[in-house]
Symmetry: C2
Subunit: 642 residues, 2 copies
Amino acid sequence: MKVTFQIEGGSPVEIECNAGDNLLELARRANVAIDAPCSGNGSCGKCRVKLVEGEVETIPSRHITDEEYEAGWRLSCNTKVIGDCTVFVPDIASAYQRRMKTADLSSPEEVAIFENAKKEMQESGLPFDNCYEAIQLELSAPTEDDTMPDNERLTWGLQAALPVDDATIRIPYGVMVKLAGTLRENDFRVCVKGELKDNVFTCMDICAYDDTKLVGCAIDIGTTTVSMVLVDMATGELLAKGSSGNGQIRYGADVINRIIESTRTGGRKKLQDAIIKETLTPIIANLCRTAGIKATSILRLCIGANTTMNHLLIGVDADPVRMDPYIPSFFAWEGLTAQDLKLPANPIAPVVIAPNIGSYVGGDITAGTLATMMWDKDEMTLFIDLGTNGEIVFGNRDFLMSCACSAGPAFEGGDISCGMRATDGAIEAVTIDKATMEPTMTIVGEAGQKPVGICGSGIIDIISELFRTGIINARGLFAREGERVKRDQHGMGRYVLATAQESETGREVSINEVDIDNFIRAKGAIYSGIDTLLQSVDMTPDCIDCVMVAGGIGSGINMKNAINIGMLPDVELEKYKYIGNSSLTGAYAMTVSDAAIDKCHEVGANMTYLELSTYPGYMDSFVAACFLPHTDAKLFPNSIQQ
Amino acid sequence: MKVTFQIEGGSPVEIECNAGDNLLELARRANVAIDAPCSGNGSCGKCRVKLVEGEVETIPSRHITDEEYEAGWRLSCNTKVIGDCTVFVPDIASAYQRRMKTADLSSPEEVAIFENAKKEMQESGLPFDNCYEAIQLELSAPTEDDTMPDNERLTWGLQAALPVDDATIRIPYGVMVKLAGTLRENDFRVCVKGELKDNVFTCMDICAYDDTKLVGCAIDIGTTTVSMVLVDMATGELLAKGSSGNGQIRYGADVINRIIESTRTGGRKKLQDAIIKETLTPIIANLCRTAGIKATSILRLCIGANTTMNHLLIGVDADPVRMDPYIPSFFAWEGLTAQDLKLPANPIAPVVIAPNIGSYVGGDITAGTLATMMWDKDEMTLFIDLGTNGEIVFGNRDFLMSCACSAGPAFEGGDISCGMRATDGAIEAVTIDKATMEPTMTIVGEAGQKPVGICGSGIIDIISELFRTGIINARGLFAREGERVKRDQHGMGRYVLATAQESETGREVSINEVDIDNFIRAKGAIYSGIDTLLQSVDMTPDCIDCVMVAGGIGSGINMKNAINIGMLPDVELEKYKYIGNSSLTGAYAMTVSDAAIDKCHEVGANMTYLELSTYPGYMDSFVAACFLPHTDAKLFPNSIQQ
């Protein structure tokens, strides 16, 4: 039988299938993007499609109302195909890719944070020097009396021009094949770009005489979002920047589901194609256009990515990451080139991967730690990266401890019924009037945008405000009644932020007790992670001199509210600092600075990884943190106590 | 309009075209193989096709009789398309690829010659040692207490097992991506193959524990024929051998036409694909099947090829080879890998190119010179490689001189009206009875094979015999009349080897005065090359201690006849030695021996190249040699003088 996907704003896609096939799986096989943050276990309610024709079999879901069901709406993850059918797929993916609010240096604030980090790094011992050189040569054409062939002529010219004596010159394939033509097209006046290391100069590109630009590419590969900058490696100047969603998203919102998908037949290739061909390649192409350079001018790429993203990018078996004893295939690995991954860049450009230090603390964290400069300071710094997962590093120049929290996708809108990512229509900030219980909301998008759902920072605000106003209690259960508080037939309470009439979609935007419980577990995971890390070095929250918060969600977080609900430790607000996309900043530093690459590897080698799941006391700490703000109120003296 | 090629034994191919397009050009564009040794200048008469339907415009040719013309036969190079048409293309190419007699080690004689060369090389200072190692490792799986990731585990194991201390271990992409899987599929008992150089071990493959075979691939790329052997690099044993025609043949029989073709739009890629995708790739695949190995086991490839073949293989601009001042893009170049050329082999396997020393003395000659061992001897050796071109090296351990003769394709059957390559039906040896003038012929193929044409060795015999029997005079003109001697209306004589009735094709097989003149020029070019080379070092033929003849045609040559006609110098027959495919033997030596690679480069660097076309006295020498046997009869005391 046959399923036809009618994609909003796109061409229809058909796929052959068998009776009983799962609709979400089929969409994945057909490369049709359906948002599924919970990876198809029915909990997030995001994979909605509308049956246009034919017959399917669906398990009812709390995410689909009776009216919606009548209209044909189904969760694709709960739906089996039983005959030929046609389904309508809303264009969530492209909207999200277009408008996703992310730490990609697109705002002046982000740029300021980034420039500051850059300055700080330069000032404290990471010279922005690298091994790349652009050597301008004025050679002469061969004659009957000067019978040197092109490659010897080039070698001779380079040896004379290089700042070292008797360099060995390597001319790899990519340069060899264009050597004769480039010399002749430019009357033997050319610029050779390459890497000078240990007295060996490796030619990477041969260009016109005046084309001296040395370009690097720094990439942050998040589970959800990919951000990138092109950099002038001689000056450190940003040439172009951009971001987009990680194309692997359709194979699962979290790393575990992507690993499982990658272990299926052909899966590793599929996941690798999704990141390389569908995500990185178009961004690089775009950035090159913006910067007015050829992709072959990119001579080095540096990548900050979590352990799973690193494995899936390279195409290395990622299954060991999720399987006992949780030892990934590699922590640090050098030897990757752009041609290995078929990335649009100079084929022999090294692809430098910031090292992983465990299955769930990866290169994004080592690169981020590099960017925090905490490895260079006496002050005790707590570094928290809030992405799809939450990772925490604590320490200073003497030691570095790290751990990963299984926070789940709550901060990115998953596991919350009206949750969504920070795209148009997302409620990103909220205050609630204690007396009237009426909300005041900030919504992502242009003026007049009506609410669609709630993103991570909005959820923190809502829960903090619901708690402050006494609408919910410390367990997250509704304690007041009123216009905005509704209950379903089972008595489950919810707070309505926007009625069906007020919302963009005609569906109510609300947060219910299940959502709140999910979120409390997520924030409890973060807090207990911090707590356990501190305990492991016999310290308490008052030892913290500085809290650096990184990650896409971090930018929107109201830190005071995050403290109020017991997600972040109750230290003075002045100690908090939002540092943007620290993984990208770290990758940038490595792109322009050889010393930064060495330092990042040193940070990786010296950082201690704490496996929380097996750490004594962690579970107790987690359970204690699953209250608002915490079972031990003394830890949160500044939280609004009820 | 449209041309349809009906290919004998294949599927029809259609191509769109314009009125006036040349049929041979169209065939090339459509990738239809039509034999055209003269590259379309109308002289060889080999590019016959038969018009089935439609209309064309053809310039009449002496190669097509009136009856043949009536039947639809045309020379494709002389034919313009003027409307939709369908032409029948005889399957010359595939027959030739199947049955070509070539020096590819397929006969016991060739193998004996090869084994002898191999022994001689080993005995005199070229140890068959190389930098490749197969290291068997018995590792253990990671546990909670042994948390090393796979790549560190491998590094650690290799460092313990390698015969050197503290080796640096490089794990490139190809090994990294299969590392996790291979370790686990083999319970962590694996064999790692790689290159150990300067204390750096580069992992090239990771296999099952017992798979320890290290395979090399030696390739001779001739303009006409490609020969290849797979070699066990540990023992030197031949694992498989094979050959086929060079797929570039349809772009011209000689190097000049291929270079011209390569300079057209997309031409470089076309020529490169013809050798890599269409020729080398299938042979390697075949040989791997025969040897029962995976292509990724091939860890080194060594290539002996002429300068043009080297340029076209790599995809480097070959135009400088044929343009004044005739300085190719490179002589020696290191840095090529299998993945650069997309050859089926280990992706990082080095592809070692025997160095060129001039536009027309290439790596086939340096590799061949390596194989002759003349660089190690006191005796004066003359080394002649008779392929599509003729190259000559003279010297000993003290000096090496070389030159190239523009002999044209006569030795491979081109430029001779009934000439053909040494495939089924080729007359390869002839004697003529002086009294009756009747020929006795040896024909390539099974018993009862009727003649189709004449190959190189046959032409030498015929001309020698015609001269010996007085049927032709010293200028190559017919001097006797008889049954076998015919003349056309212009009085041009020809000797009939087989009448239309006696031949396989129904077309007479004969040799005419134009053919003989063409051949005399070719043999004159060879002899004057030798003569000039000797003169340049103030020597005469009696200084020659040894003459080594290599090349596909060499095997069939009757040396005495070659002396009789003044093609080779008149020294004692015992001094002549046929050495088979010396380019392949040299490539083989480089495959198994690192010392041989160094020696080959040394030979290339030390060999002097004599450009005959500008050498004073060469033209005189050539003109003097364009007689049978020579204008100076004293040079050929043993030739049968008339």
